[in-house]
């Protein structure tokens, strides 16, 4: 990969990415809530409200359902830990964070999946009806969304001849013409659908619902309280930032730092923040205008995403 990266600068980049994801996640959710409220004719809570909520939850009692085992308290920790690993190694701000060689597309997707599975196990462990229902629904959606995500990124890795995310981004930057090819457009649509499904947003799941019967992601965290709930909520927002930043960096890579130096990193930080604001506002506006899909229609949407991603891979083979 690129030269001139020292161990210290690589570690500094990883640290910066982790901080960006931890602080930026709740802020992004607050910003999206603000956009939604404004479109509904309300003032809405301040943008930093999710951070205040996290601080409040962290200081509360940690309750535990009567029949829960050690899986229940472990699940939020695994969920946050896997997301933090992805945030540290994935090329979010610069093409060479520490252990960037390990940011393989399969590794990243499987780490994210490991977090989802651990939360589903934690929900099952509560022994409540809604926990089990949420877990089964989340796994149904995950089983359909994760392959689509994998295949969509695979379509980008074929022309780059590498499944390593930093390498894909560096080679895309070197060949701007790649960014407008049919497989890119197909993979982009599939990627966006998967992000909406994975992060539990409308029209797949409604994050602000109070009706247990329609819940997917929310149903899994009904029993979590206090610091555990804060971890789950934090992980949820962190995953949204990671997925958004990966989307932006893979499809519109300009702005990512390709060489070390505070100036490059400042540009990368500003461009990432700009991309997150644009994507967050777009998703929030989209959420206000659509209704939730019936649960049995969701697999059709995700199967569509998978087909688009497969077509993207096929077109990389047909169009040289």
């Amino acid at each position: 990969m690129s030269t001139g990266w020292s161990i210290t600068s690589m570690s500094a980049i990883s640290l910066l990415q982790v901080v960006l994801v931890i602080v930026g996640g709740p802020l992004l959710l607050g910003f999206m809530r603000k956009v939604r409220c404004r479109m509904e004719g309300r003032v809405g809570p301040p943008v930093h409200q999710p951070l205040l909520d996290l601080r409040k939850m962290a200081g509360r009692e940690r309750t535990r359902p009567e029949h829960a085992s050690w899986v229940f308290p472990l699940a939020p920790v695994v969920l946050v830990a896997t997301t933090l690993v992805v945030a540290a190694v994935a090329p979010l701000l610069a093409t060479d964070p520490a252990f960037g060689w390990s940011a393989d597309l399969f590794a990243v997707v499987f780490l994210l999946l490991l977090g989802s599975v651990s939360l589903a196990l934690g929900a099952l462990d509560t022994g409540t009806a809604f926990g089990g229902m949420g877990a089964s629904r989340a796994m149904t959606i995950g089983a359909l969304a994760e392959p689509a995500l994998l295949v969509a990124i695979l379509a980008l890795s074929v022309p780059a001849h590498s499944s390593n995310l930093p390498t894909i981004i560096i080679r895309s930057l070197a060949h701007p013409a790649w960014l407008a090819t049919p497989e890119r457009v197909l993979a982009l649509v599939a990627f966006v659908i998967v992000i909406v499904a994975e992060s539990g947003r409308l029209p797949v799941d409604n994050p602000s619902t109070h009706l247990e019967l329609t819940m997917i992601h929310e149903a899994m965290m009904l029993e979590y309280a206090g610091p555990d709930l804060a971890l789950v909520k934090l992980a949820e927002s962190m995953r949204l930032v990671v997925l958004f930043t990966l989307l932006a960096d893979l499809f519109v890579p300009w702005g990512i730092a390709t060489s070390p130096g505070p100036w490059h990193l400042a540009v990368a930080l500003a461009s990432t923040a700009g991309k997150l604001v644009v994507l967050g506002a777009a998703l929030a506006v989209f959420e206000v205008t659509v209704a939730k899909l019936r649960l049995f229609r969701v697999p059709e949407l995700l199967a569509g995403a998978f087909v688009l991603a497969t077509l993207a891979v096929l077109s990389t083979l047909v169009v040289p």
């Binding site: 509360r60 940690r62 309750t63 619902t209 109070h210 819940m215 309280a225």
Partner: protein
């Protein structure tokens, strides 16, 4: 939590989240699970059937927690006082931290009381 109310207070509680009152701008939200809550809004006189669920829900809220009795029925059973199905007021079943009078209370009064609790 509805402990046996006529749903009048619920309509007023729901309307504090409307664009007119918009309690969410002060960080006040309805949550789906008592585990996620800071406090319970209890409405209505506590009926015999709802006394045990009210105690269980109260126990499910993590510490530190507050209980707000919303409306005259929750405070002193209101027009249902002495009725055969009524166990008592909310304070007879769980400790109450704040009472909001009215039948039903004005949404603005509910928002004011909750802001006073949250210190915003």
């Amino acid at each position: 939590m509805d402990a046996g109310s006529c749903n009048g207070c619920e309509i007023e509680i729901a309307s504090i989240f409307s664009p007119t009152y918009d309690a969410e701008r002060f960080g006040i939200r309805l949550e789906a699970s008592p585990r996620h809550c800071d406090g319970l809004l209890v409405t209505g006189p506590v009926t015999r059937n709802m006394a045990a669920p009210l105690r269980k829900t109260f126990d499910a809220v993590p510490q530190p927690r507050v209980v707000v009795a919303v409306g005259d029925c929750a405070r002193d059973c209101g027009v249902f006082r002495g009725a055969y199905g009524v166990e008592g007021a909310v304070s007879d079943v769980v400790p109450v931290d704040l009472e909001i009078p009215g039948c039903p209370p004005d949404p603005a009064a509910i928002v004011r009381a909750l802001r006073g609790l949250a210190g915003t």
